[in-house]
Structure formats: structure tokens, C-alpha cells
């Protein structure tokens, strides 16, 4: 029994990787921009597709059949591309909506989601394409004692923990982070001190979306790459963000991993409830602590 629980916990933790990384990006964006970026799931999906395209398609398209841009390169290139896409979205569209009710930016990003999904449904299989570029060094399995676990998934867990801690460190412990936190509280005053807040907002949106792209690359070898992989996830991610506390970095990371675990362990006891347990917890948290577990009560 214990082995079974541990095994499911590991699988749950593996989903938690993506919950944590995506809700982290959402929290960073929501904190500074007050924008609920509905397109986050679609950008994650786009990230996974870019990894797939770089490995399988790009070479064919440009006539160099042997060109396979590998996983490690994708891990660097794709977040930059998705971050640049985010910056483009912020500069050309989102920027004009800050003065209005947040519902407008939510609708805009929802629309972007539909466009991106439609684009990939049109050109790729809706049911998903496997990513063949998983690096040689991460193939195979490791015996954890209580279960046999794929090496790559272990890497994904470790890698995302490092990323989450690094983001937390940047935001909570560095000068750039202090500027971000101050900008979240009182952007007008931060501007009056001589800090270019509009630029900071653009870069933050780019950074947050870049994290979604990074999560997409990380997900490509685990889940098959499909146009709806983000849509399936985004609703859970929103629940994670609400539970952690809107805009709280630590809250997003901790509740991301924790809810992955809870979901996994629920599978042991009553599998059909695994999909709903997160939403049940969200209701409980909203009743008991409306600002979320790590949110600041205002």
C-alpha cells in the first residue's frame, strides 16, 4: 500500500511540475500587470509545438533533412521565442487595455488562445504528435526502490524545482525583484522615482510567458504534443493560482507541487475523484481564506 501511495505521489509530483511552473508565470504576470493571462495554456502548448517543430519539421521545411535541433537547444531557444511572442502581444494589444476593467484583457487573452489553438489544429494532428527528441542521456528508467521511474521525469521534477527556486530568489531577494514588488504595490510612485515601469511591465509579461514556453518544452517528451494540451491544463492552473493566492510567487509554487501530490494520492483511494479534488480544495480555501493560502489579506 505504502509503495502504491509513493508511486502515485511521484506521478502526481510530475504533474505538479507543470502546475507549479505555469501558475508561477501566471502569478508573476498577475502580480505586476493585474492581468489574468488566459493565453498562458496556449503559450505552453505553443512552446511544446515549437520544440517539436525544431526537432522534426524545421529541417524538412528549409530543405536540410538531417537538421534536428535537439531538446537542450530547444530548452533555451523556445522560452526566448515564446517570451518574444509575449512581448509582442503586450506591446501591440494588451497595453491598450490596462485602463479598462480586467475582464477586457481576460477576453483578449482568451481570444489569443482560440487563435493559437485553431492555428495548430489546422496544421497538426488534433490528437497529438509524439516528441521524438528526448535526449539519449535521459532515456531509460531509475529504480527508486518503491517504483521504477523514467529518468526523464525525474529530471523534469528536479529541473522545475531549480527554476521555481531561481524565480522565487529573483523576485524576493534581488533588486530587480524589489522593483517588481514595489511596482505591484504602487506603480505610479515607482515611476516617479525614475524607474521605467512600462518597460518593466513588458519584460515581466515576456518573462512570464517565457516560463510557459519553458514548461511546454519540458512537457513535450512526457505528454504527446497536441493543440489542446494547454486548454486541458489551464483550468487546473487557475485553481492552483486561486488556492495559492492570486499573485503570490511562493503560493503558486508550493500549491502547484502540493496539488499535484494530492491529485496523485487521491488516485490511490478513489480514482474518479482525482480530477475534481483540486476544485473541491479550491472551494474550501475560498470559504476559509478568500485571499488564498499565501495571499495577503487586504
Amino acid at each position: 500500500m505504502l509503495k502504491l501511495i509513493l508511486a502515485q505521489a511521484m506521478l502526481g509530483l510530475n504533474n505538479g511540475v507543470f502546475y507549479a511552473m505555469l501558475s508561477l508565470g501566471l502569478a508573476v504576470i498577475f502580480g505586476l500587470l493585474n492581468v489574468v493571462n488566459f493565453a498562458h495554456g496556449a503559450l505552453y502548448m505553443t512552446g511544446a509545438f515549437l520544440a517539436l517543430i525544431l526537432y522534426s519539421y524545421l529541417g524538412v521545411w528549409i530543405g536540410i533533412e538531417d537538421l534536428h535541433i535537439n531538446f537542450w537547444a530547444a530548452l533555451i531557444i523556445v522560452p526566448i521565442l515564446i517570451g518574444a511572442l509575449g512581448i509582442l502581444i503586450e506591446r501591440t494589444m494588451l497595453r491598450w487595455l490596462y485602463r479598462f476593467d480586467p475582464i477586457y484583457s481576460l477576453l483578449l487573452t482568451f481570444g489569443i488562445t482560440l487563435v493559437l489553438q485553431g492555428l495548430f489544429v489546422n496544421f497538426f494532428s488534433a490528437s497529438g504528435t509524439p516528441y521524438p527528441g528526448q535526449p539519449e542521456s535521459l532515456r531509460g528508467v531509475v529504480d527508486l526502490g518503491f517504483m521504477i521511474f523514467p529518468k526523464y521525469r525525474l529530471f523534469a521534477i528536479g529541473f522545475s524545482i531549480v527554476i521555481c527556486l531561481a524565480v522565487w530568489f529573483i523576485i524576493e531577494r534581488t533588486r530587480i525583484g524589489a522593483m517588481l514588488r514595489a511596482g505591484t504595490e504602487n506603480p505610479d510612485l515607482v515611476k516617479a522615482f525614475g524607474i521605467n515601469v512600462p518597460l518593466m511591465v513588458t519584460l515581466t509579461f515576456g518573462f512570464g510567458t517565457g516560463l510557459a514556453g519553458l514548461a511546454g518544452v519540458l512537457a513535450a517528451p512526457i505528454y504527446s504534443v497536441g493543440p489542446l494540451m494547454g486548454a486541458d491544463l489551464i483550468i487546473i492552473i487557475f485553481a492552483v493560482v486561486v488556492i495559492g493566492g492570486m499573485g503570490s510567487i511562493m503560493g503558486a509554487v508550493v500549491s502547484g507541487f502540493a496539488l499535484g501530490l494530492v491529485e496523485g494520492i487521491t488516485k490511490v483511494f478513489y480514482a474518479p475523484a482525482a480530477n475534481t479534488v483540486i476544485f473541491f480544495l479550491m472551494v474550501v480555501v475560498l470559504l476559509v481564506r478568500p485571499a488564498g493560502l499565501f495571499g495577503r489579506q487586504s
Binding site: 524589489a178 514588488r181 504595490e185 515611476k191 525614475g194 524607474i195
Partner: protein, 240 residues
């Protein structure tokens, strides 16, 4: 320094109008002050004194007229360029201490805007209380400590023109006195200061000139030397 001698103005504001959204808040403010001078903006709550400072910093939705600092026009500069180019330090109403930053982060937040900013050591020497609480989060400070922090924060940047909004509000007399000493020291070392102040007795002994603002306009201008003679008028302006 004699109050009547008029050096070239460091800050000269002409016909400044400002809006929040649709509402027209300032209706033509005119004022000026020379290097090393201290002026106060007096008036009742809601008369437009705070908005005048905010308009200088570009923190209103729209502004017209002229704001000239050392001869350079600032009216159309974006908000984040104003403090660095003008060498301005702004201490907002309610102090503007960031709750999610600790004392030292609050201190180090504003970028430097001039050459001779105070070092952290000098700041801690001027405000010893701040050193003891430097790792504490901003809002866990007492009102007096928050006010010291808000002033210390802009002294570190090397700003030579200070805009201070209601720095004595809600503070105990002993702290008001300490702030008064600090302001006097700053003036002596050549800082140029605009003080929005409710507490006339705090402002009067240190000011070169007073501007009385009502309904978004300067309605009177009183030199320090005239204060005694015009006390009745001042009382009338400031009575609630």
C-alpha cells in the same frame, strides 16, 4: 540667506493645469523658487497642494502649462524621466513605504538621480532608528520610522530638489521636532525644498516664502518677512 534676494529660479511653474480623468483639478498654478530656498504650499485639504506635487512628478492623467527646472522644460516628459533629469526627490502623502519590501530594500529602491547622494552609513547616522530595523518589512515600522525612511530614501538618490508632502501628519510632537531639525539641516546644506504642510508652526520658521492654494490656484504669496504682518490673512486661509 535673505528671502528677498531672487536668484535664477531652480523651479519655475507657470499656468500649470492638471486633470484626473475628466476632472480638472489644478487651474493655473504659478510659483517659483531659487536654489537653496524652501517654500511651503499652504491651504485646506483638497485645495490642490498634493496635486501640484503630483503634477510636477507626472503622476496626473494630463497636465498643461510649463514646469521649468534649471531652465529645462519638463511638462511633456514621461513620468519616469522626471526625477532623474530634474534631480528630484519626492516624498508622497502617506509616505509611500512599500509593504512587501524591507527597510533596506525601500531605501535602495529609487535609482540615483544626482552625484552626491548620501551613503547608507550617512543615512543611518542621520536616522539611527532605521539601522536597527533595517531588515524589517516596511509597514511594520512606526509612523515616525516610516516617515524617516521616506525621507532617507530620497536623500540617498542625490536629489537636490525635494518635494515633501505632509511629512508631519499624524506624528508625535517629539518626532515632528526631530523632522524639523532634519529639514533645517538639509536647508543649511543647500537643498531646495517644497513643503506641503498643514502644520504652519512647523513650516513657518524654515520657509523663505509661502504660497496659499485654493481651488487649484495660487491665491496669495507671502514672503517670510511679511508673515507677522499678514498673520490675520493666513489664519483666515487656513481656518477650517
Amino acid at each position: 540667506m535673505s528671502a528677498t534676494a531672487q536668484p535664477t529660479p531652480l523651479l519655475k511653474i507657470t499656468d500649470l493645469n492638471a486633470w484626473y480623468g475628466e476632472s480638472h483639478v489644478l487651474h493655473g498654478i504659478d510659483l517659483e523658487l531659487g536654489e537653496g530656498q524652501l517654500i511651503t504650499l499652504l491651504g485646506r485639504n483638497g485645495s490642490g497642494r498634493t496635486t501640484t506635487l503630483r503634477a510636477i512628478m507626472g503622476m496626473v492623467d494630463r497636465r498643461t502649462g510649463s514646469i521649468s527646472i534649471r531652465g529645462e522644460e519638463f511638462i511633456s516628459k514621461p513620468a519616469h524621466r522626471i526625477a532623474p533629469l530634474g534631480g528630484i526627490g519626492y516624498c508622497p502623502e502617506e509616505r509611500g513605504i512599500f509593504a512587501s519590501l524591507n527597510v533596506e530594500e525601500n531605501l535602495l529602491l529609487p535609482p540615483t538621480v544626482g552625484k552626491d547622494g548620501m551613503s547608507l552609513d550617512e543615512i543611518y547616522e542621520m536616522f539611527p532608528n532605521l539601522k536597527e530595523v533595517r531588515k524589517r518589512m516596511g509597514t511594520l515600522l512606526s509612523g515616525g520610522e516610516q516617515q524617516m525612511l521616506a525621507i532617507a530614501r530620497i536623500l540617498r538618490t542625490g536629489a537636490r530638489l525635494l518635494l515633501l508632502d505632509e511629512i508631519t501628519e499624524g506624528l508625535a510632537p517629539v518626532i515632528v521636532k526631530a523632522l524639523g531639525d532634519a529639514i533645517s539641516r538639509l536647508k543649511k546644506s543647500g537643498y531646495t525644498i517644497v513643503l506641503v504642510e498643514q502644520n504652519f508652526r512647523f513650516a513657518a520658521p524654515r520657509a523663505d516664502r509661502h504660497y496659499v492654494i485654493e481651488h487649484g490656484k495660487v491665491v496669495d504669496r507671502i514672503e517670510a518677512a511679511e508673515v507677522d504682518a499678514k498673520m490675520d490673512r493666513l489664519n483666515h486661509y487656513l481656518s477650517v
